[in-house]
Each structure stands twice: as structure tokens, then as C-alpha cells.
């Protein structure tokens, strides 16, 4: 309706019309040609018949040539009612025995020889195109041996009329055939496209919240379309569910820091002790930071979904990206007097992927590492290329995560019950999502003597494959 580039019906119309036109032309052309040839053969036979009858009437009687032309030969010629006809019977020496004196002789280049004593040729006689048959006959007797030629010509009105009549008939047939075929094709198209209309009406009359599958009986060719629609529906259902879940969780998560914020601010309002009030106000700021970070992660999450959908994939330098993120996190690390060190490749390592998503991945892991490291400790970032993979290890010397919890930390909004620190519970799940998108794996390993190593393994030459 709105942005349809073309109509199937119109295309079929166009193609069918063109094909039919072509076919009709070919049919007409060949039928007309065939009819003309057939007519020519039929009329030639008539002409030959008349000539042969005349030839038969030329005989030797007592040493002299006697010619008694039969009426039947003339009646045969008269079957072409409007045509004039001419004949000549000549002796081999050129003497005219009977008939028309100036009937054209056999042209030398005559090609349509029926056999060695019968020829057919076209000529102009008496101002009109005329078809001629010439027959040579040998008159043989004990004391006589000579050839006579019998030439019969007829104007071609009947031939032309016959051909014209046939052509007219063929045209009528072709036009009828054309129209009928087109109608049948259009009927076929209408019948074939009816299921599509049914699907359209089905979708049109649905309530906007109804995402159930279409349960129409449709032809094989249309089934993929309804399957695709149904798949889209089920994906939409899933997405919608996820979105509901996510917003529930986010609201839930936001309520705790907000409640904390409110109680701290209330306490600070009542607190008379200066130093205690300062501590409470610092908590207010910490809570606000926590909220900001949580909102950032929620936004990141939304951004990711958007990025992935738009498929913005480029070739990018993982080394450069890692160093850049490390520099951004360096300030936060310095606050806690944490030494942030990079060990690994100085050369660019190219992978194809989404740079913003990968930045989220690295920064979330790195920020987590800094966040959970004790004061004056060390966080190490390692990046190197192996035979079939690229590895990124980010290690800290914090508490680490017990094995029983490791699988759970990637779940959205999961927070370790032992974790005393504030956290959104979103960061690692975003990292996991990005890693999945890039066909990478994330492992959680124990660091020695304590702490956590997060290992991201990209397939070499990898990243996103399409």
C-alpha cells in the first residue's frame, strides 16, 4: 500500500502480455506462412491438373498433331472464379499450335522444376502477376518424333484471396487466444494471490497486543512467509517479556539506593554531630554515584540492544581500544592507589566487531576489577595473541568469587550475597552479552594468591562472523 515498489499482479500482467504478444506474433507469422504455402501448393496442383489434361489431349493422328482440349481442363481452371487464364501449345520448333501467341516462354533460371519435363514459374502477363506451368510432351510414332510444350498460366487473385482469408481467420483465432489466455492467467493470479489477502486481513483485524501465531491454512509457497511472521511474533513476545522483566528489575534495583539515599539524607538532616553528618553526607554522594553508575549501565544495556540490531561492525584495533579504556579507568584506580599495569602486545591486533560494545566489555570488567580491589593493590591487564585465539586477562587481588557463584555473576542484576560493596549487577551481564555477540567466551579464574582473573577469549581472525 504505502511503500510497495511494484505489484505482482501488474508484473504478471506485463510479462504475460509480452509473452502472449510474442507467441501470437510467432503463431500468426508461421500460420500465415504455412497457409500461404498450402494455398500455393493447392492452386499449383489445380494448374498442373489442367495442364496435364491439356497435354493428354495433344496426340498424333495419322502423322499429324491433333489437339482436342477437354472442357474439364477449363472447368478446373474456372474453379478460381475471378481469375483469368492463358495457355499455349507450341511445337518444339516454336510454332504456335493453339492458344495465346505471346504467353511467356520458360525462363532460363526457373528453379521450381517438378521433374525433368514439368516446370512452374511466376511471370507478368497481360499486366497481372501470373503463375505458369509448362509441360513438355514427346510425340512419338514410327515416322514422327517431336516435342510439344503445353504452357498454362493463371492470374493469382484466388490464391491471394485464399491467403487473405486464411490470414484473417488466423488473426481472429490469435486475438481470441490472446484475450482468453490473458483472462485465464489473471484468474490464476487472482486465485494464487488470495491466500496473501487472507493473511493480510488476518493481521489487519488483530488486536495490537495479540502476538499469537497465525493459524491459517496457506499454500506451500506462502507458508515461509507466515512462518517468518510467526517467528517474528514469538521473538517479539520474548523481547517484550525481557523488557518487562528488565524494567521490573531496574525499578526494583533503583529503589534500594534511593531508599538508602533518602535515609542517609534524613539522618544527616537531624544529625547534630558535625563529623557524623559529614560521613552521612559522604554516603549520600556514594549512593548518588552508585545510582549514576546503575543508570549508566541500564543505558549501556539499552544502547547495546540498539547497536547490535543495527549491526555496526568495523575492523578495529583491540590493543588500542584496551589501552584507551585502561587510561580512562586509571584515574579511578589512582584514587584507591591501585597500580594499573598493562602487559602484552604493543602491536595492533585487529578484529572485526562493534567498538562501542567492546569498549563497554573492557571498561565494565576493568571497573569491576578496580572496584573490588583493596587499597594499594595491583590490577593487571594482559592481552596476547595465541594460535587460534586472542586473550584478554584482567586480574585483581580482591576477594575473588567462590566457585559456586561464578556461573551466576553473569545473570542480570545478580549480586553476590557476600559482596559488601555497592554494585549494579548489570556490568558483567553486559560484558557477557557483548562477548556472546562477538563469539567470544568469558571465563572467571582464581588469581593467586587471591583475587579474580576475568579471561575473555576471542577467536583469532574472529569477532563477528557473517
Amino acid at each position: 500500500m504505502s511503500n510497495s515498489a511494484y505489484s505482482i499482479k501488474q508484473r504478471i500482467w506485463l510479462v504475460a502480455t509480452l509473452v502472449l504478444l510474442l507467441m501470437s506474433t510467432v503463431v500468426y507469422w508461421s500460420a500465415a506462412l504455412y497457409a500461404e504455402r498450402l494455398a500455393r501448393n493447392a492452386f499449383d496442383r489445380q494448374l498442373r491438373g489442367a495442364a496435364l489434361q491439356m497435354a493428354e489431349s495433344v496426340n498424333l493422328v495419322g502423322g499429324e498433331i491433333e489437339i482436342d482440349l477437354p472442357l474439364s481442363a477449363f472447368e478446373l481452371l474456372a474453379m478460381s472464379e475471378e481469375d483469368r487464364a492463358f495457355y499455349a501449345i507450341r511445337h518444339a520448333n516454336g510454332t504456335l499450335l493453339t492458344g495465346y501467341r505471346d504467353v511467356p516462354l520458360l525462363p532460363e533460371d526457373v528453379t521450381e522444376a517438378q521433374n525433368h519435363h514439368e516446370w512452374i514459374y511466376d511471370s507478368i502477363y497481360s499486366g497481372e502477376p501470373t503463375r505458369f506451368v509448362s509441360i513438355k510432351k514427346r510425340l512419338l510414332d514410327s515416322d514422327y518424333d517431336a516435342f510439344v510444350s503445353i504452357t498454362v498460366g493463371q492470374t493469382v487473385l484466388a490464391r491471394q484471396a485464399h491467403a487473405l482469408q486464411t490470414k484473417r481467420w488466423v488473426i481472429q483465432f490469435v486475438v481470441a487466444f490472446f484475450v482468453l489466455s490473458l483472462l485465464l492467467i489473471m484468474l490464476g493470479v487472482w486465485v494464487a494471490l488470495r491466500p496473501l489477502k487472507k493473511v493480510r486481513l488476518e493481521l489487519l483485524h488483530r488486536s495490537p497486543v495479540d502476538l499469537s501465531a497465525i493459524s491459517l491454512q496457506v499454500p506451500k509457497e506462502i507458508a515461509p512467509l507466515t512462518d517468518a511472521i510467526n517467528q517474528l511474533m514469538s521473538q517479539l513476545t520474548k523481547t517484550l517479556d525481557r523488557l518487562k522483566h528488565f524494567s521490573n528489575e531496574a525499578a526494583h534495583q533503583l529503589r534500594t539506593p534511593l531508599a538508602g539515599l533518602r535515609s542517609e539524607a534524613q539522618s544527616a538532616l537531624k544529625e547534630k554531630n558535625q563529623s557524623l553528618r559529614e560521613g552521612q553526607l559522604k554516603n549520600v554522594i556514594a549512593c548518588s554515584d552508585e545510582l549514576a553508575s546503575m543508570v549508566t549501565h541500564i543505558l549501556q544495556h539499552a544502547e547495546l540492544a540498539h547497536r547490535f540490531q543495527r549491526d555496526e561492525i568495523t575492523s578495529l584495533d583491540l590493543t588500542h581500544l584496551t589501552l584507551e579504556v585502561a587510561r580512562e579507568v586509571a584515574a579511578a584506580a589512582l584514587d584507591k592507589n591501585i597500580e594499573l599495569s598493562y602487559v602484552g602486545s604493543e602491536d595492533p591486533i585487529f578484529i572485526s566487531g562493534n567498538s562501542i560494545a567492546l569498549r563497554f566489555l573492557i571498561s565494565n570488567i576493568l571497573e569491576n576489577a578496580v572496584k573490588y580491589s583493596p587499597m594499594d593493590s595491583e590490577v593487571t591487564v594482559q592481552l596476547w595473541v595465541e594460535e587460534t585465539s586472542i586473550r584478554l586477562d584482567i586480574s585483581d587481588h580482591g576477594e575473588g568469587i567462590p566457585d559456586s557463584e561464578k556461573p551466576k555473576v553473569f545473570e542480570l542484576h545478580y549480586r553476590s550475597p557476600n559482596n559488601l560493596n555497592t554494585g549494579t549487577g548489570i556490568g558483567l551481564s553486559i560484558a557477557k552479552e557483548v562477548a556472546d555477540f562477538h563469539n567470544a567466551t568469558i571465563e572467571l579464574l582464581d588469581n593467586q594468591p587471591s583475587g579474580l582473573t576475568v579471561r575473555v577469549v576471542f577467536p583469532a581472525l574472529g569477532g563477528v562472523r557473517f
Partner: protein
């Protein structure tokens, strides 16, 4: 003035014999731009005059010049001299067909020409306008008290055989060699009649006499010089029979050929438009009626037969009337070899 000029022409021109040329003046022949429609024909002037006269009177500023020929003369005159009229009328159907086949005529189609039956026209160039049965005329003086007028050729042959000596030199026939109509009728007999061989034999044995035209033959019949005039136009014969009681006209029951007098417009005609008007006029109901009422000729249109015998015969389904069809097959009769064969056959029969 024009009449004077014509009379002058008639007198000085060697081409026009005063005896055979007739001037039919229109209603106002003194105006300028006066047109003269030339009609050459092989019909007695008396028979054709009423319709020529009427045409001249109907047209503005037009006169008709009619020249009368015998049929073969007419054919030779136009083809050999190349002096063509505006309208050519002839009962010699074979020669008319030959003129058409040789491309001497122009086609013309109108409502009146398309009314003609198929056998009465050819190629829209040749149009029959009369319908003239070929009859046998007999002088009843030869018949004994018990004898009946023969009704067909077999009865005629029997009659001749029964009175063998009496018929010697008493059978008349048109000269095949010089009279085109005679040749046409005799050649048609040779094609149509099963009695042709016996006729030839009997006519030869009885030394049949040859006449140069119908009039002289019918005159001889009326005078008793001959008793049978074989193959004579029924229209002429009826005229004579009306004047002489002893004459009977026989339309033979076995078959009666019908000659169609036909008209054509030559390619070389000067007044083609007037000629076309004339063809339409000739075939019109009015002229057909005029023919039947004021001429001895019998019109092609069967609605106006005044001759009751013929009218009855034409309406009968089992009619012996067999019109010779206008069409290409008539060309056979103009074939030189065919003609000399027929004439030789005739000569042999007479001389034996």
C-alpha cells in the same frame, strides 16, 4: 448541327457504313459539350432501339451512336482495328468471355450488377442482360395428318428419318464458319447433347443448308424453302411464328440451351462514366420491363417474361432450359484447334 456532322461523318468515313450505323438523339442535342455514347452490338437495331432511345432521353445532353455488326465481325473489328466503343453488346458469349480474359474490359460493380445470378456475369466485367432460349423452328406444312410437332431432338430425328427423302436439302442451320452465334450453339450441342453424333450424321446425310443469319434462315422457312430451322434464337423465331401461322417454335424437352446477350465496358472506352450509367440502366427493373414489352429480346430478369411458354419453363424446377454460363470455360470454344476440329467434323459430315 451535330446531326448534320454525324451525317457528314457517315457519308465520308469509310469506317462507318451508313447501313449499319444508327443515330439516336437525346432530348436536347444542340447544346455544347454534347456527348455521344458509342454502342457496338450484334443485335438487330429494331430489337435494341427502344432501350437505346429511352436511355438517350433519360440522360442530359447525350446521344447514342449504335453500330450493328455480326458477332465475329464485331470481335475482329475491335481487336484488330483497336477501335473500341463505350459499350459492347454481343450474344456470342465465347467471344465476349475471350475479350474479358484478354483484359480488354474494365470492372464495374453496382447494386444492379450484383443482383445478377452467378452464371449471368463474370469478374464484374461482363453482364448478361437477356435470356434467349435456342429453339428449333419448324414449318408444319411438312407434317402429315398423323404427325405431331416433335418435342425433343429424338422426336425430331425420328421425324426426319421417317420422311427421309422429303428433308433432303430442307434443313437449315446457321453457317458455323461465319456466324458466331451458330458456332456457339453448335459447339454447345457438341458438349451437351447425347444426340449430337446422330444430329451430325442426319444433317450431313440430308445435305443441310447453311444460312448467313437468322433472318434469311427464318425467311426461307416461312417460304417453305426449308422445313426445319435448327438452332435459331427463340426470340426471333417467335416473332416470325406470330406472322406466319405455319411456323412452330420448339423448345426441345431434352435440353434447351439459353444464350445470354451480354454487355461490357472496354478499357478503351471514352465515356466510361456514361457507360457505367448505361450498364446500370440496362440491368434496371425498368429497362428489363421495357425489353420484355417493347422488344423481341427476352430480359434476364425473370420477373418480366411476356412470353408465357418461356415464363412457365423458367419457373419449373425440371426446366429443360439450360443457360450457357458466362465464365472462363467458354474460352474453350475460342480455341483455334477446337474450332477447326468442329468445322472439320461438320465438313466431313456434309461432304460424305
Amino acid at each position: 448541327m451535330i446531326r448534320a456532322l454525324l451525317i457528314f461523318l457517315l457519308n465520308v468515313s469509310p469506317l462507318i457504313h451508313a447501313d449499319d450505323a444508327y443515330w439516336i438523339s437525346g432530348k436536347d442535342d444542340v447544346l455544347e459539350n454534347h456527348k455521344i455514347l458509342k454502342v457496338y452490338g450484334a443485335a438487330d437495331f429494331s430489337a435494341i432501339e427502344p432501350i437505346l432511345k429511352n436511355f438517350a432521353l433519360e440522360q442530359d445532353n447525350l446521344s447514342v451512336l449504335y453500330r450493328e455488326f455480326s458477332t465475329r465481325e464485331l470481335y475482329r473489328y475491335v481487336t484488330e482495328r483497336g477501335e473500341w466503343p463505350d459499350i459492347l453488346l454481343s450474344p456470342a458469349m465465347d467471344l465476349q468471355v475471350k475479350l474479358i480474359n484478354d483484359g480488354y474490359a474494365i470492372p464495374f460493380e453496382s447494386e444492379s450488377t450484383s443482383r445478377l445470378p452467378k452464371w449471368a456475369s463474370w469478374r464484374n466485367e461482363l453482364y448478361a442482360f437477356t435470356y434467349e432460349p435456342v429453339a428449333i423452328a419448324i414449318n408444319r406444312r411438312i407434317l402429315g395428318d398423323d404427325d405431331l410437332v416433335p418435342k425433343d431432338r429424338t422426336e425430331l430425328l425420328n421425324l426426319i428419318r421417317s420422311k427421309e427423302s422429303l428433308f433432303r436439302g430442307k434443313i437449315g442451320l446457321l453457317d458455323l464458319e461465319t456466324v458466331g452465334l451458330g458456332y456457339l450453339m453448335w459447339a454447345n450441342d457438341s458438349q451437351q447433347s447425347r444426340t449430337y453424333g446422330r444430329l451430325l450424321e442426319v444433317f450431313g446425310a440430308n445435305r443441310a443448308k447453311l444460312y448467313p443469319n437468322s433472318t434469311s434462315m427464318l425467311q426461307a422457312l416461312a417460304q417453305g424453302d426449308i422445313y426445319i430451322a435448327y438452332n435459331v434464337l427463340g426470340s426471333y423465331a417467335s416473332e416470325w411464328a406470330a406472322r406466319f401461322n405455319e411456323l412452330s417454335v420448339i423448345l426441345p424437352n431434352d435440353y434447351t440451351a439459353v444464350i445470354l446477350r451480354s454487355a461490357l465496358i472496354p478499357k478503351a472506352a471514352q465515356l466510361k462514366n456514361e457507360a457505367k450509367l448505361f450498364i446500370n440502366y440496362l440491368l434496371s427493373e425498368k429497362t428489363q420491363r421495357l425489353l420484355s414489352e417493347h422488344s423481341s429480346l427476352i430480359p434476364i430478369s425473370s420477373s418480366y417474361d411476356t412470353n408465357e411458354d418461356i415464363a412457365t419453363l423458367r419457373q419449373s424446377e425440371l426446366s429443360p432450359l439450360q443457360p450457357i454460363n458466362l465464365g472462363f470455360p467458354l474460352l474453350l470454344l475460342t480455341d483455334q484447334a477446337k474450332r477447326s476440329l468442329l468445322l472439320k467434323e461438320w465438313d466431313n459430315a456434309i461432304q460424305n
